[in-house]
Symmetry: C2
Subunit: 157 residues, 2 copies
């Protein structure tokens, strides 16, 4: 489980580097698909990862607004801030936590019960999926996207 998180964090850092070579205007531009933009996607990934980790710990969530994170620096700052807590939880993960149950109340008041195992996998898949969207927008910009390869990165358990 940890390996996938390491992979996602590594890829995210590479996308930040990629972003450094792209004008802010392009990073903020509203695009078709996903949450609608490059920087917005990175912000969304960070927010969602942190929110689920908080939920599993029984800690309160709060909704950050992308309006307050309109630069690469601001998004990276948020990442550093949230990552500390996320990393601590991920590194303490063990298979005994797999079936721990978590209640989630949706915006329309419906209560759902998830296991921590499925939440962890959901968070992992969530980032990879959104990174796939970045890769299309990257090509639309005429730029080579960050490689999504997991092999060859020394990511062994």
């Amino acid at each position: 489980m940890q390996t996938f998180f390491q992979y996602n964090w590594m890829i995210r850092e590479e996308w930040y580097k990629w972003c450094e070579e792209v004008p802010l205007e392009e990073l903020l531009k509203v695009r078709t698909g996903g949450v609608g933009g490059i920087l917005h996607t990175l912000f969304h990934i960070i927010d969602v990862e942190w929110s689920w980790i908080r939920l599993m710990q029984g800690k309160p969530d709060f909704k950050e607004s992308f309006d307050d994170y309109q630069s690469l620096e601001r998004v990276k700052e948020l990442d550093v801030l949230f990552k500390k807590e996320v990393e601590e939880f991920v590194l303490s993960w063990n298979p005994q936590m797999e079936h721990n149950e978590v209640r989630e109340t949706s915006q329309d008041g419906i209560v759902e019960i998830f296991t921590c195992g499925e939440i962890m996998r959901h968070v992992i898949a969530h980032e990879i999926h959104h990174i796939g969207q970045l890769s299309v927008w990257s090509r639309e910009l005429g730029k080579k996207p960050v490689s999504a390869n997991l092999i060859g990165k020394g990511l062994t358990t």
Copy 2:
């Protein structure tokens, strides 16, 4: 590990259903990013998944050409054919196989050594990444993409 494969197979089936409502011309249309098209992406996912599973079993690979799979039915047939072998391997996966080493010779003759653990995760991430690309193209077509949610699908170990 198996849970992620189950997730990917489930999502893939949902994309096949999505494809049924889209003209073949749109499924074959060359697009920006990834391998360059919707049906081509699904073909690529199937091919890559199967090829890595074959490699881990020490079985010979062969390169299918997308030119021979220019319809949804043909791609689904290939999936059924390959899936049998892939599923057998995935369901027999156990953590003792994590550090088994596999040699891969690249097209330019370079030999690389990967562990089965990193290959399995690479195959998982590979599909999720490409499905993210489909979701952008889906919106470009004005269609709602298949949800990438892993939670709420009963995918617990």
